[in-house]
Amino acid sequence: MDVVNQLQRQFIDYSASLHREGFLDDQFTQLQKLQDDNSPDFVVEVASLFFEDCEKLINNMARALEQQQGVDFKQVDASVHQLKGSSSSIGAMRVKDVCIAFRSFCEAQNREGCLRCLQQVTHEYSLLKNKLQTLFRLQQQILAAGGSIPVVE
């Protein structure tokens, strides 16, 4: 099962790097632990939901910030708040951190700052999405090869 071992090692390394770089935090590990036979695709499911939600929220924020007549910061703040909640629930640490900064700009009603944060959020979100997709692909490969997903602590 050399292939499996190799894949597993790849998986572990990749996971570790994601953690190291701050893309994921401990919460993600918790999610992985929750995955079991009863819900074998749990992590993928949660991640997909998160991406969908994220896109929707980013769009909302963009629209709100684009308003020329007057930005409804409350609305932006609500969206950021929700994004913060969901990103922290999934363990998307970098996204969450941007959200925290984003919120203070919202409170200060700083449109420029908000726009900058929005850009950052979008960027982080795309990065994370790619990385997770890679990770999931590795997972699939391991499973397809007959192995099991190693738990990364």
Partner: protein, 659 residues
């Protein structure tokens, strides 16, 4: 929405299979929550909409053991849901949020949450949430066992439950829910069996408007300090009602009052700043809730002002037209006694502190000024009311709370979710002076909104019949009174000089409604028993329901609307009833929240009933004309056969605002 696995034998293997309802608009979090809860072996049902959650809960109150809800939701504020669930279903609710701000957590607690979790939520935290369910049950049991000591269980339970929502079966149907469409009609069933999680099988008691009215009256009669479940139970004389039911209800009421008192305090302060009659009225209005007055404890002046203005309105009405005066509260001395709501301090929402405001019998225009309205409020906290009240004829402090009970019942009837507004009968101090302190509507509103999730008792302030003053000598009062006498609507016409309400004629009305609106949340339209709900007041209430009426300007709204209550007020049995619009959607929240439901709430049965205190509150001394007035009023009341007072001997002028 997904339903988790059904696990049988839940009773035996508790907490396994504990039925949890999870509400969160964020799908990621919801899925995560569901998975975590399932991992804890609970029986999970999820929904992303608060409205759906409420619907499910209402369909079958015994379907769930625990509710976990997000704070930030688009269709309904989490705190509101929290309150509604607490009041209607009396289930433990855990709040969930990504924001762990102390203020928010505090808000959760005051609204009755038994716990506040931060996102991302960990499984370890969820593994212990079943304790809240058990704790609640245990306290119920304890209440049952402990015969005389009503305090202990309350304290314990409140501490334990974190929010004084330990009540077995009491349900408060106070607030009106936004979604009133699904609202049940007033339920009068008692002893509705429910299957508890544990082995305890307590029939669920539904606190209907009528029941709550009795409760409030009993509490008023006993005095907030002396109101012990046993005595309350005796006074209420309701079959199938246990001491425990009353105890838990009382706890909620106290919590509610406390919340209101905080709000009232703020409002009082604001009102002081305003110093206009309007505000006073407003505040008074808001203070109608029992709690409100207490909260007004703030600046004395403010209170006074508030009372004054309020009283003017109410009292004027009454004084001038004993027969027609809507304020039946002036019976004996025309003073409504503000009984210190001791429980304001309590977080238990159920305590309805009826404050009876003491209406100074003297005709000094400024008597009220000196009157520490805040006293009443303070009293609540410190039970110092006596000292303050001293200034006024000592009327007992029974707050008039038929309103509250009424409102409570109304609320029940109308909106299941509406919190029961504690009705605090604030005796309206009769103020001869024309400067009626402006009760900051906001206070009222705040206090009302501060309703703990469980007990939102409609507060109503009893308007101390300042009428005697009005009646009498004081020029101020007279001025003010005269309008009142002329017609209810005009009670305060002269009073609120500062009032920018468009219609000066009905200042009182507006005030009242505002007051009541604030305090009374979902008052049922069915409060017909109250006497005469003034339909006309709806407009006023409508506005205020959302606690917006806190704003003195809110009266303005009412003005525009149909303050028709006047005639009815006067004619009826001396009640000043302001009937807000009926929708009964209770918008519990606080000043910042703008509940769309407001209008609806108003629509429902909100009555602002000001029921002056009857015989009990006789204010010796200065009463002079007040006495005459009072007796006239009393007679009138008797003649009118006030429905509400009769039973409880509660003569306070209670404004019942149904919202």
């Amino acid at each position: 929405m997904r339903v988790g696995r059904v696990i049988s034998d839940e009773n035996d293997s508790f907490p396994v299979g504990m039925r949890v309802l999870a509400v969160d608009d964020d799908p990621t979090c919801l899925l995560l929550l569901e998975t975590l809860l399932t991992k804890c072996k609970y029986n999970v049902t999820t929904t992303s909409q608060a409205i759906t959650a409420l619907k499910m809960l209402r369909e079958n109150k015994n379907k769930f053991d625990l509710v976990i809800s997000d704070v930030h939701m688009p269709d309904m504020d989490g705190f509101k849901l929290l309150e509604l669930v607490g009041l209607e279903m009396d289930l433990p609710v855990i709040m969930l949020s990504a924001n762990g701000d102390t203020k928010l957590v505090m808000k959760g607690i005051t609204h009755g949450a038994c716990d506040y979790l931060l996102k991302p939520v960990r499984i370890e935290e969820l593994q212990n949430i079943w304790q809240h369910v058990i704790r609640r049950k245990k306290f119920d049991r304890k209440d049952r066992n402990g015969s005389g000591s009503q305090d202990k269980p309350y304290i314990d339970s409140s501490e334990a439950a974190g929010l004084g929502n330990v009540d077995q079966n009491g349900k408060f149907n106070k607030k009106r829910k936004d979604q009133n469409e699904d609202e049940d009609e007033e339920r009068d069933e008692n002893g509705h069996d429910n299957e508890d999680l544990s082995t305890q099988k307590k029939p669920r008691v539904v606190w209907s408007v009528e029941l709550h009215r009795k409760f409030v009256a009993a509490v008023n009669q006993l005095g907030i300090e002396k109101a012990v479940p046993k005595k309350i139970l005796e006074l209420m004389d309701v079959e199938n009602l246990t001491r425990e039911n009353v105890a838990s209800h009382l706890q909620k009421f106290r919590l509610y009052l406390k919340r209101i008192s905080c709000v009232a305090n703020q409002q009082a302060n604001m009102a002081a700043a305003l110093g206009s009659v309007d505000s006073t009225h407003l505040r008074m209005g808001t203070m109608n809730g029992l709690g409100n007055f207490h909260t007004l404890a703030g600046p004395d002046q403010i209170h006074n002002a508030a009372f004054r203005s309020f009283q003017h309105s109410g009292v004027l009405r009454r004084l001038n037209t004993p027969s027609g005066v809507g304020i039946s509260g002036l019976p004996s001395s025309g003073l409504v006694q503000l009984s210190p709501v001791q429980n304001l301090g309590n977080t238990s929402t159920n305590q309805s502190k009826l404050q009876s405001f003491v209406i100074p019998g003297n005709h000094n225009a400024n008597i009220l000024q000196g009157m520490p309205m805040s006293l009443e409020f303070d009293q609540l906290q410190n039970n110092r009311a006596a000292s303050h009240v001293g200034q006024f004829p000592s009327v007992d402090n029974t707050t008039v709370l038929p309103v509250s009970s009424i409102s409570a019942s109304l609320i029940d009837a109308g909106c299941s979710s509406s919190p029961l507004l504690g009705v605090t009968s604030n005796s309206l101090l009769l103020e001869g002076s024309s400067q009626l302190p402006t009760l900051h509507a906001r206070n009222l509103r705040d206090s009302v909104s501060g309703f703990p999730n469980r007990s939102t008792l409609s507060d109503f302030t009893s308007i101390a019949p300042a009428s005697n003053q009005l009646h009498g000598s004081k020029a101020d009062i007279q001025d003010q009174a005269s309008p009142i006498s002329c017609n209810a609507g005009k009670i305060i016409s002269s009073a609120p000089q500062d009032w920018n309400a468009p219609k000066k004629d009905a200042p009182y009305q507006s005030n009242v409604p505002s007051c009541s609106i604030n305090s009374l949340r979902a008052v049922n339209g069915d409060m017909a028993w109250l006497g005469q709900c003034l339909d006309q007041n709806n407009p006023i209430f409508n506005r205020n329901v959302g606690f917006d009426f806190v704003d003195p300007l809110s009266i303005k709204f009412s003005e525009g609307e149909n303050l028709a209550m006047e005639p009815s007020v006067i004619e009826k049995e001396g009640y000043l009833m302001v009937q807000p619009s009926r929708q009964g959607s209770y918008i519990p929240d606080n000043e910042d929240e703008n509940f769309a439901m407001e209008p609806s709430v108003i629509e429902k049965e909100g009555y602002l009933i000001v029921q002056p205190r009857r015989q009990g509150s006789y204010i010796p001394g200065n009463l002079g004309s007040l006495e005459d007035l009072a007796s006239a009023i009393t007679k009138q009341d008797h003649d009118k056969g006030k429905p509400t007072d009769g039973d409880f001997g509660y003569n306070d002028y209670s404004l019942r605002t149904c919202i």
